[in-house]
């Protein structure tokens, strides 16, 4: 086994980022490839980790910083696959960025000389790598202070700076959007910090595992509520979703998929920090969470339906999609939680495809308003295919894995509804019906963008499918989605080794 394998997975992106900054005078335009290679390497490591874990092992690495704080890393059946899929999304987007960043730099800063261009380009990729670093940290760490640290790291370094440097300013200035994103991120995380400090006053430890001892404590509800508020901000649960349409839509599209991960990873944190240690104390929160999830789901879909900005469609759909995983977790049955986590992974891959395809459209046409599109399928067949694949992933069409995830999740929810509260049963039926809204807005957008007669404005323009380095990573993601849909056994057995113990 490779030594320090988890540390490498978390640390390599940071080293890669520094390497990009150091070598940029020499490597010039090729610096972006360092990011891709680093992430390919960590993905390979993650495959190894997953195989080990599937064979029944767990990996634990100890890195103690002080008596209360450590960066211990732990890979089990839950963290390993989550980390793997998040990393796969990051790799795909790193390759996608190679061309996309060129386009962004040119659009924002105009034709600049080679040196300035390289400066911006390498700045992007060195910031980009903090995303996977943060994600991997959140997935593997066992200490809540380091968990908080990694969450803040994501908000402050890559998200804020990439937004401020490369974002869109179509509605409000990109620096303002960056600030908005920073405030919401930090604000949300603060609730988490208060929550874990309250927990600390009772248990005397910041270890996630120590939260077990909180069960039945008089302050447990306070801790749960604080952490839920913090996570709901990240998950964009109604009414804390208002940042999502702004922040998610105005980002440069090459990180939009990662923003979906950034938001949806909170579902993983909930399972890790609340569901596993405090399963019994959570029961009373089940129905309120499911209700919130249902409201968000329906509201998010309706709100998406009225958008006519292609990036906003993708952004607003995240609001409703994330709620499916919240619903699964909220039902608090083993089956539904496993389904919810599976849906989280399917969603981030599907959203990466869907959103990046929106980016491809903007890249090729230069416009965001779908009322000015129409008939693009004849000019951009591969982009159309990707959009349909993304739409299928979001609306849960087989053989993509989102279908299996939805099915498992709803099996759990219906079972608890049939034998438990009738409110859950009603929520289950309404939520399953709400899927039709997702189908409506994704395929309606497909019709408006790609089908129908070609918009006369495009006739003389040179519009074609973007370069293959942008398309192939997304197609490969679709292959991963389909493989997981055809053979979900591997992933679900991994999940079951952890969640099945509840």
């Amino acid at each position: 086994m490779i030594p320090y394998i988890l540390l490498q997975i978390v640390g390599m992106p940071v080293i890669g980022s520094l390497l990009i900054l150091i070598t940029r005078p020499k490597l010039g335009r090729k610096a972006g490839w360092i990011a891709c290679i680093t992430l390919l390497y960590t993905t390979a490591l993650l495959f190894l980790v997953n195989i080990r874990v599937y064979q029944g092992a767990t990996i634990f690495e100890e890195y103690i910083l002080g008596s209360l704080v450590n960066v211990n890393l732990f890979a089990d059946g839950l963290s390993a696959p989550v980390a793997l899929i998040m990393n796969i999304c990051s790799v795909a987007l790193a390759f996608y960025s190679l061309h996309y960043v060129d386009h962004r730099i040119e659009l924002i800063y105009g034709h600049v000389d080679e040196k300035t261009w390289i400066l911006y380009n390498t700045r992007f990729f060195s910031l980009f790598l903090y995303f996977p670093a943060g994600f991997m940290g959140i997935a593997f760490c066992t200490n809540m202070i380091s968990l908080f640290f990694f969450m803040e790291l994501l908000t402050i370094i890559p998200l804020y700076f990439i937004m401020a440097l490369f974002g869109y300013s179509d509605y409000i200035k990109r620096t303002n959007v960056a600030l908005m994103c920073l405030f919401w991120g930090v604000g949300g995380a603060t609730f988490f910090l208060i929550g874990i400090i309250v927990a600390f006053t009772q248990t005397g430890s910041f270890e996630i595992a120590s939260l077990n001892a909180l069960s039945g404590n008089q302050l447990v509800d306070l801790v749960i509520v604080l952490i839920f508020i913090s996570m709901f901000v990240k998950l964009a649960v109604f009414p804390l979703h208002v940042w999502m349409p702004w922040v998610h839509a105005e980002h440069p599209t090459c990180i939009a998929g990662l923003l979906a991960v950034y938001a949806n990873i909170a579902a993983y944190v909930i399972v890790r920090v609340l569901v596993i240690p405090l399963y019994n104390d959570l029961q009373v929160y089940s129905i309120p969470i499911m209700l919130l999830a249902l409201i968000t789901m329906v509201y998010g879909s309706l709100f998406t339906m009225v958008q006519h900005d292609v990036k906003r469609i993708a952004a607003c759909s995240t609001i409703s999609q994330i709620s499916y995983s919240v619903l699964g977790i909220g039902a608090l049955t083993v089956t539904s939680i496993e389904g919810g986590m599976f849906f989280f992974l399917s969603h981030i891959m599907g959203k990466t495809i869907f959103f990046s395809t929106a980016g491809l459209i903007v890249y090729a046409t230069g416009i965001r308003d779908i009322n000015k599109m129409g008939g693009l399928a004849s000019k951009m067949p591969l982009t159309t295919l990707l959009w349909v694949l993304g739409a299928m992933a979001l609306s849960g069409f087989p053989p993509l894995s989102a279908f299996v995830a939805e099915w498992i999740m709803f099996t759990g929810i219906f079972k608890s509804g049939v034998y438990g509260s009738s409110t859950v049963f009603v929520i289950a039926i309404l939520a399953v019906t709400a899927i039709v809204l997702t189908i409506s807005y994704t395929f309606l957008a497909a019709k408006r963008i790609f089908f129908g007669p070609l918009n006369p404005d495009f006739e003389n323009k040179e519009i074609k499918d973007p370069p293959l380095t942008m398309i192939i990573p997304l197609l490969l993601l679709a292959v991963v989605l389909i493989s997981l849909g055809l053979y979900p056994k591997f992933l679900l057995e991994l999940f079951d080794s952890v969640i099945g113990l509840l």
Partner: protein, 675 residues
């Protein structure tokens, strides 16, 4: 003999879908032949399953592998029993002829790779749906069929005018991309409800395997019955899926507009795949609810049969009435499909209404599905050739085509006679059985609706034959002739496919009675194995056949006078009678169901709700979170600054001093209380 053929049956078309883009890189011809030969392979595999039917003692056979163990156990595999063998053969064999036909029809068309991929995926999904051994994979096939229909109905995605349906003005035109989306959304609405139903069934039964569901049904249905309304809910949810896919009332309006796809697609959707899936599902579910009512005694289970029968009868009549006035050739055929599927549903519904009607109704529904598949495929393929030749979708722009397309006329005429129910064609035998089983349950309104529909069917069938092939040439044809455009038979491969189907119709018709008895015995046997009480039908006498022939004649004579001998002009006949004119308008506007149920109700409610979100919810929330809260610190600061310095009021300063004192007191008390 081997069960492997059941696997191959759907794997071949799936392989075809995947291979098409690869083969296209080598040579376009290779792609075309590859796609068709893989569908041929599927047809052969399904035929290889037929011997099992003659050895009923071996059935049902299951072959499966463990697909998932946690958190749900599921063995994926195939189930071969008499129903799945019959269905697989209908689907695979007819699909093959349609694929063959489309080689001629689509010649020179753009995006052929996409075409073959969708077609093969469509066929494969349908075969997966009918052959799988569990409800999950049935649902997977079900969803994929819906997706493929979207891809194929909106195949001409550029929405050129010649591919639109509807009209002539003031009736609206519908574009291919619109119709495709409508089909997808309407059927998906049914799908998600059906998924809910399946999940409830799983929650009680603990399995999705079809045979296990049959075997344990008396247990879990009884458990379900303990919650009042639960069985009814499950029935409604499951049937919503079936009615959505099979275009039954009130979800039937997507099907006539699905005509925007190329003719082979219409044939595929109507004859072999898609709309038959709902009928198949109902047939699959019958043993469960039959057992639930007649054996386990859960009275709610009877609703299944009541709903199916009534919806079937209503749909049969509603759609036939619309078919009587429609002017688009393919739309007439589409309405007739909806109506004929209504008959199938009717038969399956009445199967469970009395304990001795099971075999008769079940066989009637399935047999009608078979014969309908044959003649409807033939009708659509011929319609494709006719539309191709006449360059118009409207039957009033055709006329007198018989002399230009004698073969197509012959084939279409045979198929239309079968649709009308003229003996000894298969449509006669199967419709006869449907009517007999309906009569057996002694619910006379059902029977009456069914009989009236026979008249309507016979009328609209002869109407379109007359308007297309007989009478005078329309202006359109005359102009075409003047311009020297080619008017004649289609590509030989298309004529061949139509001819083969027409011959099959005649052969099946001649063997009709024997086939009917054979199917009755086979299904009876299969149902008996599920421990259901079986009464084999006795011969019903000549009342129903005589009545059915008589009613066919009534419709036919009227249509003959109007449209073939043309002794009377239908337009002038209508002009004089105001009440008939009103009815005509009502039927022409499709009972306003499309307008009111789909556009005003579903689309209207959702879009209105969606339109309110930015203004009434998102806007205010944005104001609170991004306006009010960020402004709070600055606002408070301003107020304090104003009070402190700018107001020049002595009282404020006094207030500060008092506040400060209070705070100090609080702190002191707090400190004192602390240990």
């Amino acid at each position: 003999m081997g069960i492997e053929f059941a696997w191959l049956c759907f794997l071949f078309p799936f392989a075809g879908a995947l291979l098409s883009p690869v083969l296209a890189q080598i040579h376009p011809k290779l792609r075309d032949y590859g796609a068709v030969s893989l569908s041929f392979a599927a047809a052969v595999s399904s035929v290889m399953l037929i011997p099992y039917i003659f050895h009923p003692s071996q059935l049902p056979i299951e072959s499966s592998f463990v697909w998932l163990t946690t958190p749900i156990k599921l063995k994926a595999g195939v189930l071969v029993d008499s129903l799945s063998i019959v269905m697989a053969n209908v689907v695979a064999v007819i699909s093959f002829f349609i694929m063959l036909y489309s080689m001629g029809y689509m010649k020179g068309s753009r995006s052929l790779t996409r075409w073959w991929m969708w077609m093969n995926l469509f066929i494969g999904s349908m075969l997966l749906l009918v052959l799988t051994n569990n409800l999950l994979f049935l649902f997977i096939g079900w969803k994929l069929v819906g997706l493929c229909s979207w891809g194929l109905i909106s195949f001409y995605y550029k929405d050129e005018k010649e591919y639109c349906v509807g009209g002539p003005p003031p009736t609206q035109y519908r574009t291919p991309s619109h119709s495709g989306l409508k089909a997808l959304i309407v059927t998906s609405a049914g799908d998600v409800l059906m998924l809910g139903g399946m999940l409830i069934v799983y929650a009680y039964a603990g399995t999705l395997n079809i045979l296990e569901l049959y075997n344990t049904s008396s247990m879990w249905i009884t458990e379900m019955a303990q919650t009042p309304g639960m069985i009814s809910l499950v029935i409604v949810l499951l049937l919503a899926g079936a009615f959505g896919k099979s275009a039954q009332f009130p979800f039937h309006e997507w099907l006539p507009e699905a005509m925007t796809g190329p003719a082979p697609v219409s044939a595929l959707i109507h004859a072999a795949t898609m709309v038959k899936s709902g009928v198949y599902l109902v047939a699959r579910l019958i043993p469960i609810f039959y057992l639930g009512y007649w054996v386990a005694g859960c009275h709610e289970a009877l609703y299944f049969f009541i709903i199916v029968a009534w919806v079937g009868a209503i749909t049969a009549f509603v759609a036939a009435s619309q078919g009587m006035v429609s002017l688009e050739l393919k739309k007439v055929l589409a309405f007739s499909t909806v109506s004929q599927i209504g008959y199938m549903m009717l038969a399956l519904g009445v199967a469970g209404l009395t304990p001795d009607n099971l075999v008769e109704g079940y066989t009637g529904g399935t047999f009608h599905l078979m014969s309908h598949a044959l003649f409807k495929a033939c009708l659509f393929l011929c319609a494709g050739s006719v539309i191709h030749a006449a360059h118009s979708i409207y039957i009033n722009e055709m006329g007198s085509l018989r002399k230009y397309m004698p073969y197509t006329w012959l084939f279409m005429f045979i198929a239309a006679l079968s649709l009308m129910g003229v003996p000894p064609l298969p449509g006669f035998w199967s419709k006869d059985l449907v009517l007999i089983s309906t009569l057996h349950v002694h619910i006379y309104p059902l029977f009456l609706v069914a009989i009236i529909t026979v008249i309507a069917t016979s009328f609209y069938s002869l109407r379109f034959v007359g308007m297309v092939f007989h009478g005078k040439e329309s202006e359109n044809i005359a102009t075409m002739k003047k311009k020297g455009k080619h008017l004649g038979e289609a590509h030989p491969i298309m004529v061949f496919a139509c001819g083969a189907l027409a011959i099959a119709i005649v052969v099946v018709g001649i063997l009709g009675l024997k086939l009917e008895h054979f199917l009755g015995e086979t299904f009876g046997d299969a149902l008996e194995r599920l421990h259901l009480t079986i009464v084999h039908p006795e011969s019903a006498g000549l009342f129903v056949p005589a009545l059915s022939v008589l009613t066919v004649l009534i419709g036919a004579v009227v249509a003959y006078i109007f449209y073939i001998s043309r002794k009377m002009d239908p337009a002038r006949f209508l002009e004089k009678r105001l009440s008939l004119k009103a009815i005509h308008k009502f039927f022409w506007n499709r009972w306003y169901i499309d307008d009111i149920v789909y556009y005003k109700f579903f689309v209207g409610i959702v879009t209105t709700l969606a339109a309110t979100t930015p203004k009434y919810i998102e806007g205010p929330l944005n104001k609170v979170f991004h306006g009010f809260i960020p402004a709070l610190p600055g606002g408070i600061y301003n107020i304090i600054k104003y009070m402190k310095t700018e107001s020049r009021e002595m009282t404020f300063n006094l207030l500060y001093i008092i506040l400060l004192l209070i705070v100090i007191l609080f702190v002191m008390f707090f400190l004192e209380g602390a240990p």
